[in-house]
């Protein structure tokens, strides 16, 4: 494989990395299987593209994408906390609703950004960076995301969110409104996903109504790969693992495409990666992807325990 392909995988891994961190935030930190992610990704792309095409600054378009993503997460959270809709269904409802909204935002199924200024045409125009402009830009954005999120998760509020995902009953008994924590957590996660969508749209030069499909599974595969290789002993390591996993995932994708796998089979491959990973009990346990498992599995374990004792 040529250097170009590897560089491309690195760029993609970084830009999609913000999405993977969002998936990590919902599935691992909040323990909430949030399906909003697919549509929040498209929404970020749609909003960014629309704003840029309307003549606004590409950076500003990212800020708006972040806000829209947060709003999407908030809606899912409100469905769950106010209307008591189950987590999976709350995400599905938002995802379906956002499909229509994203189409309205774009006005058509596909928006091209090929003839306009984006943050990447800007980065490529910086002669000092050579071919590394987009990668460095991705690195900068992802580093900022990681640092800010890490700082946030160490605040009182951030720790409240982590504890909510870990042990809801306990943190409620410590006086935390867990509904609020879920709302904030979901908003942040989907804001990251939408940011990623906005970045990817500018990077690829288009936004497409279907570009978010399968994001969750791609994100999960990345999280699993990252945690297996980098580990998750500390919070920072877990965040770093998400981004590393994203890069490796994109590299694997590039590799199999080079080997001749038709791009249309990618989603099948991604699902298989996750299924295979989850079928190893040890991997499942070690990774502790609780949100993915059936509740009864946990319930049975703890129920058994309290009866034995």
């Amino acid at each position: 494989m040529s250097l170009n392909v590897w560089l491309g995988a690195l760029e993609q891994g970084l830009l999609w990395g913000a999405m993977v961190v969002g998936v990590y935030m919902t599935f691992r930190v909040l323990d909430y299987p949030d399906l909003t992610i697919d549509s929040a990704f498209t929404m970020g792309a749609a909003v960014a593209a629309k704003f840029i095409l309307s003549g606004y600054n590409p950076w500003l378009s990212l800020v708006v994408a972040i806000l829209c993503g947060a709003l999407a997460g908030l809606i899912t959270g409100l469905l769950h906390t106010r209307l008591r809709v189950a987590p999976l269904l709350s995400g599905i409802l938002t995802m379906i609703a956002l499909y229509s909204i994203n189409l309205r935002i774009m006005g058509q199924a596909n928006l091209s950004l090929l003839r306009v200024e984006t943050i990447f045409t800007w980065a490529k125009g910086l002669p000092a960076l050579g071919p590394f402009g987009p990668a460095l830009l991705g690195l900068l954005v992802v580093a900022l995301v990681l640092i800010i999120l890490h700082l946030f998760l160490k605040t009182e509020l951030g720790m409240g969110i982590r504890a909510t995902g870990d042990n809801e009953q306990m943190i409620r008994s410590l006086g935390v409104n867990t509904s609020t924590m879920k709302l904030v957590g979901l908003a942040i996660a989907n804001a990251l996903v939408a940011l990623s969508g906005g970045l990817v749209a500018q990077y690829q030069g288009f936004a497409d109504i279907g570009m978010g499909i399968g994001m969750i599974i791609a994100g999960l595969a990345s999280v699993i790969i990252g945690e297996a290789l980098v580990g998750s002993q500390t919070l920072f390591r877990a965040l770093l693992a998400a981004v590393t996993g994203s890069i490796i995932y994109r590299a694997v994708i590039s590799l199999v495409l080079q080997l001749g796998l038709p791009p249309t089979d990618l989603k099948l491959l991604t699902s298989l990666i996750v299924v295979i990973a989850m079928s190893f009990p040890l991997v499942r346990q070690r990774l502790g992807l609780r949100a993915l498992r059936l509740r009864s599995e946990q319930g049975a374990a703890t129920g058994q325990r309290s009866q034995d004792l």
């Binding site: 946030f152 160490k154 605040t155 009182e156 509020l157 951030g158 720790m159 409240g160 982590r162 504890a163 870990d166 042990n167 009953q169 306990m170 943190i171 409620r172 008994s173 410590l174 006086g175 935390v176 409104n177 867990t178 924590m181 502790g288 703890t302 325990r305 309290s306 004792l309």
Partner: protein
């Protein structure tokens, strides 16, 4: 201090699984009183504590804390005043977070969670001192994830967490039942020390009748959602485990339905 007036709680009202867990419970607990609660399985002991903590809403009656009517307050608001330790050591701590993070969460019980630092250096110092008092060496492992600790260590930590921001009321629900006898004894001693140090008003559910009589200054017995016995003062001082079992049989018309109790009763000590 704590008053329950005619409190009733029914699970699944109107359904096939309808279960009256609490019936017309009236209980006054004075400041500084340490009340032990005994009763057979399903008597409503845990439900009573959950109702006080606000986990369940009640159909009838009132709950007052310091003469304030808190009946309609949600759990997370009441939590400002109430420290809890559950039976299951896994339930009282966040396994994926470190010892110091768990303590920091507990220190902020009842306070708003803002964008401030989650743990300050001076808090770390406080945690170190408090952990040292447990005598388990946890002060050297403050950045260890709680999931790596043993059940006994976790439960000792939970007791500290429940009391590190001094509560008005401490609720303990068979908090040593899941531990082996030796660890249980350590955690009991530790709990008694902490209760004495802060003169905490406490409700403690236990299945160990001997411990129920030895600990605190009042013992109540529950059966089928009612308080059927309320012992304190000299009367309680004269009571033995055998008396308790007899009183239970007389008041309920049935044998004490908890084999663990007989076992511990015969042994006379833990």
């Amino acid at each position: 201090m704590l008053q329950l007036v005619n409190v009733a709680k029914t699970f699944n009202p109107g359904g096939v699984n309808e279960k009256a867990a609490l019936r017309e419970i009236t209980l006054h607990v004075k400041e500084g009183e340490v009340v032990t609660i005994i009763g057979s399985n399903g008597a409503g002991k845990s439900t009573l504590l959950n109702v006080i903590a606000g986990v369940y809403e009640i159909e009838a009656g009132k709950v007052l804390l310091d003469s304030q009517d808190i009946t309609r307050w949600p759990e997370h608001i009441r939590a400002a005043w109430i420290g809890r330790v559950f039976q299951d050591p896994l339930k009282g701590t966040a396994a994926s977070m470190t010892i110091e993070e768990n303590l920091a969460l507990a220190l902020r019980r009842g306070r708003p969670r803002r964008l401030h630092r989650g743990i300050t250096p001076s808090e770390r110092q406080l945690f170190k001192e408090q952990l040292a008092l447990l005598g388990l060496g946890l002060e050297e492992r403050m950045t260890t994830r709680v999931g790596l600790l043993s059940g006994g260590q976790r439960q000792a930590l939970t007791v500290l967490m429940a009391t590190i921001a001094t509560p008005k009321l401490l609720l303990l629900d068979e908090h040593t039942a899941a531990l082996d006898p030796r660890t249980a004894r350590t955690v009991v001693e530790l709990t008694e020390k902490i209760i004495a140090r802060h003169r905490l008003t406490t409700l403690m559910v236990t299945h160990n009748l001997e411990q129920a009589l030895r600990t605190g200054n009042r013992t109540i017995m529950m059966h089928e959602g009612r308080i059927i016995l309320d012992l304190s003062g000299p009367e309680r001082a004269r009571t033995t485990v055998a008396d308790l079992l007899k009183m239970f049989e007389k008041a309920s018309g049935s044998a004490f339905a908890d084999d663990r109790v007989l076992l511990t009763g015969n042994q006379g000590s833990l």
